[in-house]
Symmetry: C2
Subunit: 205 residues, 2 copies
DNA sequence: ACTATCGGATAGTGTTGCTGTCTATAGTTT
DNA sequence: AAACTATAGACAGCAACACTATCCGATAGT
């Protein structure tokens, strides 16, 4: 276990904690107080840290998506679990009908089930804007939808590019979680790029 | 204050907490133990709840971006504060040069400063993929970059569409925070749409 | 005069993600 | 064989966070 700790850079106490929480499978027992850990444990640890640190998931959420990787349920079901895990729980009754209608307008032509977590989350965001007196976002949101469609195509392409089923499953889960972080990061960079192109000389205070 | 509480749906104790933390400016004092709260307080409360619940910010982070709204520092500076607040702090020394180079390839042609928070965060994500043995993302990431560019254009368009400076500032801050959530939500919906189009009949277990 | 409410201060709560300590045992070195 | 180190497993403790509850003295409205 000391090796596992030094190889991963994670303290022994933390590894024990992940074992306790069921995030990491126990090592192969070689005695009452001895266990052997293989490369798959190291890999799993890296998945865990990626989900927690980069993806910002909680321990409980990471547990769910890791279970989704381990169980073989078919890709669409795995997608569903991953999506629900990373999305906020939203009560449909708490949403204004206007916001929901607004989202459905944007999503018109898409085949999306009514309880898709993204649909509800998007409605929540639009409702927040509406409460802040920004009712007309018709110039803004469609651009987001078009970009989201392009990204989703890229996501599915990448999953298709994986050869074996296990690799596909992992790409579904990890891609769902880390894809959010990746896009947000690239948006920051793109904002600086576009901003500097539009306003060449930033005003000096 | 009771009115403010019922109007916003936020418990009095919580409003007091926000006052203590400096998120909400004090009401206009009308006596040693009396204060008046106006519509601007209600609006501010809605901003706070949006940042915390929808944007997922911490109290400290919300404080920073709210200060950015209040101070008038020029749009590019406000953008910078908002970006740094919502981005994870990443130590450049902890990043592998390969991951950084990979990001810079994707960002080639963009005018992005070396310490742009998005550049570092994107490198962190790519490094995580590399550690998981997914080295070749050249079919995936460029699509993200193109989409991010389109979204950034839409963001700046929307800021430009605001007339007064204060409204622009608020759109910069709120748009930066809630835009992430909006895009992530629409990506979920788009994934279901694309997935159902590509694999019409999900396998029944 | 009386009662409800106010602002302000202080302390307490539940959750989360670890971290430190302890014990009994097992391997390893001398 | 004795000394030493490392291990698994259980348990308690801790710091940060976002509230929440209680108390207090003063005052506004009736």
């Amino acid at each position: 276990m000391a090796q596992l700790s030094t190889a991963s850079g994670i303290p022994v106490a933390t590894i024990k904690y992940y074992l306790r929480e069921g995030l990491l499978p126990a090592g192969e027992r070689s005695g009452p107080n001895q266990a052997l850990y293989g490369p798959e444990h190291l890999r799993r640890l890296r998945v865990i840290r990626g989900l927690l640190e980069v993806g910002g998931l909680s321990i409980a959420a990471a547990h769910q998506v890791i279970d989704a990787i381990d169980s073989d349920l078919g890709l669409s079901h795995t997608f569903d679990i991953a999506q629900r895990t990373v999305s906020p729980q939203i009560d449909l009754a708490a949403l204004s009908p206007e916001a929901v209608a607004q989202v459905d307008t944007v999503l018109s032509g898409w085949h999306v089930s009514p309880d898709n977590p993204g649909r509800l989350a998007a409605a929540r965001v639009l409702q927040t804007f509406a409460e802040l007196g920004q009712p007309d976002l018709s110039g803004w949101v469609p651009g987001y939808a078009a970009a989201a469609l392009a990204v989703a195509e890229a996501d599915l392409d990448e999953v298709d590019a994986r050869s074996d089923r296990e690799s596909k499953t992992e790409m579904v889960v990890v891609g769902t979680v880390l894809g959010d972080a990746l896009f947000a990061a690239l948006r920051r960079a793109a904002q600086e790029h576009v901003s500097s192109r539009r306003y060449p000389a930033p005003p000096n205070p």
